[in-house]
């Protein structure tokens, strides 16, 4: 506790509060731009910050990381254009809310949810770091595969009105995920002899193409949509009493789902958002509102992706173990200052570590103060005439994807996926399952094969490892339970 108080003393110096504010502001901005993520931004800032005091630099980087997660929800909700993959789920219900004039409420629940989750995540980081790390290390390839199976079962909640169309979209995503060099054998798969495809198709390119470009093409193809004026605000600007009541539990649940996933070496910020969405849909008193703009579907996943960020810092600070692209860059930053993250960091540089943790609390407050007043301004984006708005989205999508790799090939892919996204909308295929297939497919495949490689082909590993067996049992339960419920409901009527 004393250490944390000292940390606040470090973080609350004039200069460090300044770095924190710069970080969250910059983070929010890059979160809004599709394609440009926190990893790239920190990488580009590294040479600039080489001459700074390390504490200030890390405080800025952490603020940037949190800010990016928050900022990407804004465009997800208002424009159906996720800035980061962690906000794809937010786009589903959030954008529907925005179309009904509840965009401000959706932004507010995302902002407050991010604040709650970020704070809970930071508290968990302060108190539970060593414990969480021990648990995360128990996850080997077999356990990851079982976890992916659980994640796959939850996709059913996102398939939309037609299961067949949803499944086709999911399988399209799985197929896209196969393209590139096979991670286990180094052999090229489905690359058509094109060098650029050897690294696989970037998830950012697909997500921005399917969501942003596809949406723009679709709107352009429909004259009747062009003239529809979306009501920017209906009713109160802020969240209503009912919206508060429906948000706080998803915030809490999302926070506790996201945190451990961030700490897992292959967890990431995306999978907890799928799980949170699925859980909220199951637990909601109004499940029929899902797919029509349910606030729980924004509150839960937004909390989940922010607390995952706090989770990422657990293995990074305690073991020097990066669990996301951004964390890997942060690790490089530590090394640039000659600091070695790991067990020795807490003892050797405790002022830096606790200053960083304290600044996370401050960063969360700064984000809330920065973003809540801006909600009213952001929703006015929707008052921009549709053709101009979508032209703007196309420009930002193109810039964002180009800046990601400076690759013209990526731009071509962006527009190919834009056309695919248009066709999917035109023929009523949901796009979210495609992205989920693309994220989960390679993870499931690689870990399945790694587990079998380690066990030398013995399939029983998935059932003899306790965590793996438990997860597979949960997955089986999720699949079987609805049928059992239906059977039980039928029996009385048949009597």
């Amino acid at each position: 506790m004393d250490a944390l108080l000292d940390g606040f003393a470090t973080a609350l110096t004039f200069a460090n509060v300044g770095w924190c504010l710069i970080g969250v502001t910059l983070g929010t901005a890059i979160g809004i731009l599709p394609g440009i993520g926190p990893a790239l931004t920190i990488a580009l800032l590294l040479p600039v910050t080489a001459h700074l005091d390390p504490t200030g630099a890390f405080i800025m980087f952490a603020g940037l990381y949190y800010g990016a997660m928050y900022g990407s929800s804004t465009t997800s909700i208002l424009l159906n254009t996720p800035g980061e993959t962690g906000s794809i789920i937010t786009a589903i219900e959030g954008n529907l809310m925005a179309r009904q004039g509840r965009g401000a409420a959706a932004l507010a629940t995302a902002a407050i949810g991010s604040f709650v989750a970020g704070t809970i995540g930071t508290v968990l980081l302060t108190l539970l770091a060593p414990l969480v790390v021990k648990l995360a290390l128990r996850f080997g390839p077999a356990e990851y595969f079982a976890l992916m199976v659980v994640a796959f079962t939850t996709v059913s909640g996102l398939l939309g009105a037609s299961r067949l169309r949803g499944m086709i979209s999911l399988f399209l995503g799985l197929a896209i995920g196969l393209v590139g060099t096979d991670a286990l054998t180094g052999q090229a798969r489905f690359t058509l002899g094109i060098l650029q495809l050897l690294d696989g198709i970037d998830i950012t390119v697909v997500a921005v193409g399917l969501f942003a470009v596809g949406e723009a093409f679709y709107v352009a193809s429909r004259p009747e949509l062009r003239n529809v004026q979306i009501i920017p605000i209906k009713g109160s600007l802020w969240m209503t009493r009912e919206e508060w009541a429906r948000s706080w539990k998803p915030w809490m649940r999302g926070s506790f789902i996201g945190f451990p996933f961030g700490a897992l070496p292959a967890g990431g910020a995306e999978i907890p958002t799928f799980l949170s969405y699925f859980l909220e849909k199951k637990l909601s008193k109004k499940p029929e509102e899902f797919g029509k703009g349910a606030i729980e579907g924004v509150a839960g996943p937004e909390a989940a992706n922010n607390s995952a960020v706090a989770g990422v810092l657990v293995p990074l600070l305690t073991l020097g173990l990066p669990t996301s692209a951004t964390a890997a860059i942060l690790l490089a930053a530590f090394q640039q200052y000659g600091l070695q993250p790991g067990p020795l960091l807490f003892t050797g540089n405790s002022a830096l570590v606790w200053g960083l943790i304290a600044s996370l609390y401050l960063g969360n407050i700064a984000l809330l103060l920065l973003n809540l007043p801006l909600v009213g301004i952001w929703v006015r984006l929707l008052a921009i005439p549709t053709p101009l708005l979508y032209a703007g989205i196309l420009v930002f999508a193109t810039l964002g994807v180009y800046s990601y790799n400076q690759s013209v090939f990526d731009l071509g892919m962006l527009f190919v996926f834009g056309i695919v996204g248009y066709l999917m909308r035109r023929f009523d295929f949901p796009v979210a399952p495609c992205i989920i297939g693309m994220i989960l497919g390679p993870l499931a495949e690689q870990n399945f094969r790694r587990a079998l490689s380690i066990s030398q082909g013995d399939h029983s590993v998935f059932f003899t490892h306790p965590i793996s067996a438990t997860l597979l049992a949960i997955a089986a339960l999720i699949i079987v339970a609805p049928f059992l419920f239906r059977l039980r409901q039928r029996r009385p009527s048949s009597l």
């Binding site: 080997g140 180094g186 690294d199 790799n405």
Partner: protein, 322 residues
């Protein structure tokens, strides 16, 4: 009198260096360094450090870095060989990983089509086991490899990369069947580290710098290092002194475009040589913990050819290249 002369001389030097119009002060007016990877990685860091040192030491007037990402650097390589052919103002960073990627990706362009300039830095690899493992020495690991090669699961970076190559070379040198190496690639050092710390694989291979913290904290036990001699200040025995005749450095180098003449090659080689000898570069090496593995000219060209032969042989044995 003397001080006046010195001052005049100093002023003349300042003028010569300071005035942008003095071409003699720069080996090269401008230079573009291709980093064939995305920002943040090792090749990018090398390119950006070169840019900074070459500019601040007055070796070139201006240096820029261009990231050409993808396919283990072979996209950048293809660009250097095609688009930049004959261009004396371009350098590209490369390394051992690219030698492997050219083979596994069946790249149409190879390093032989570039003009070798110099090897710059590198890092040695360590072989580790988790602290809880009952394997105490490299000898015990070798015994296991000989008894049942497939039962030793190695964790490390991408398939066909430096870590994979070293696992293959060690198995081969131990007299076991390298075609049966059970190498489990992970994406990124973080995932591999987690698998080793969690005891999910038998042993791990990675660059020393990546795991030094965990080794010093006693969470990983280092069995061997892939250098020829023990490194100063690092108490890890080499492979060689433990009877495994393998030496491997994950080196980084610079090459120039094909089709430049000998004079142009010499200008670039001298410029890089001047950079390596500068205080600025020595400071970069110290700050980042990079090993100085400078080697240039024909010696480097021969080294490149030898590494290519060695890597392609082991990748064939490992079944990655047919």
């Amino acid at each position: 009198m003397k001080s006046f002369a010195v001052r005049t001389l100093a002023a003349a030097v300042v003028l010569a260096v300071g005035s942008a119009g003095a071409p003699a002060a720069f080996a090269q007016d401008n230079i573009r360094i291709i980093a064939p990877a995305s920002p943040g990685g090792g090749w990018d860091q090398t390119a950006r450090a070169m840019q900074e040192v070459m500019q601040s030491e007055g070796i070139v007037k201006s240096a820029t870095v261009e990231n050409v990402t993808g396919a283990g650097g072979t996209i950048g390589l293809a660009q250097l060989a095609d688009k930049e052919k004959g261009n004396p103002n371009v350098l590209m960073v490369n390394g051992l990983v690219m030698v492997g990627a050219i083979l596994t990706n069946q790249s149409a362009v190879t390093l032989e089509q570039t003009t070798p300039i110099a090897r710059l830095t590198g890092e040695y690899e360590v072989i580790v086991v988790p602290a809880a493992s009952d394997i105490q020495t490299l000898g015990q690991l070798v015994e296991r490899l000989k008894a049942d090669t497939g039962a030793v699961a190695w964790g490390g970076g991408s398939a066909g990369g430096t870590d994979h190559i070293l696992a293959g070379l060690i198995t081969q040198a131990a007299g076991a069947d390298a075609t049966k190496v059970n190498y489990v690639p992970f994406s990124g050092g973080g995932e591999a580290l987690a698998a080793i710390l969690g005891g999910h694989v038998t042993a791990g291979v990675s660059g020393l710098g990546e795991w030094l913290g965990q080794i010093q904290a006693g969470e990983l036990r280092a069995l061997a290092i892939s250098s020829a001699e023990r490194l100063e200040g690092i108490d890890i025995p080499t492979l060689k002194e433990q009877g495994i005749d393998v030496e491997l450095a994950n080196w980084r180098a610079v090459v120039a475009a094909p089709g430049i003449d000998d004079a142009q090659r010499k200008v670039l080689t001298d410029a890089v040589g001047a950079m390596v000898k500068s205080d600025g570069w020595q400071k970069v090496l110290a700050d980042r913990g990079w090993m100085d593995l400078y080697m240039s000219g024909d010696e480097f060209a021969k080294y490149l050819a030898d590494e290519n032969a060695r890597v392609s042989e082991i990748l064939k044995t490992l079944g990655l290249v047919s």
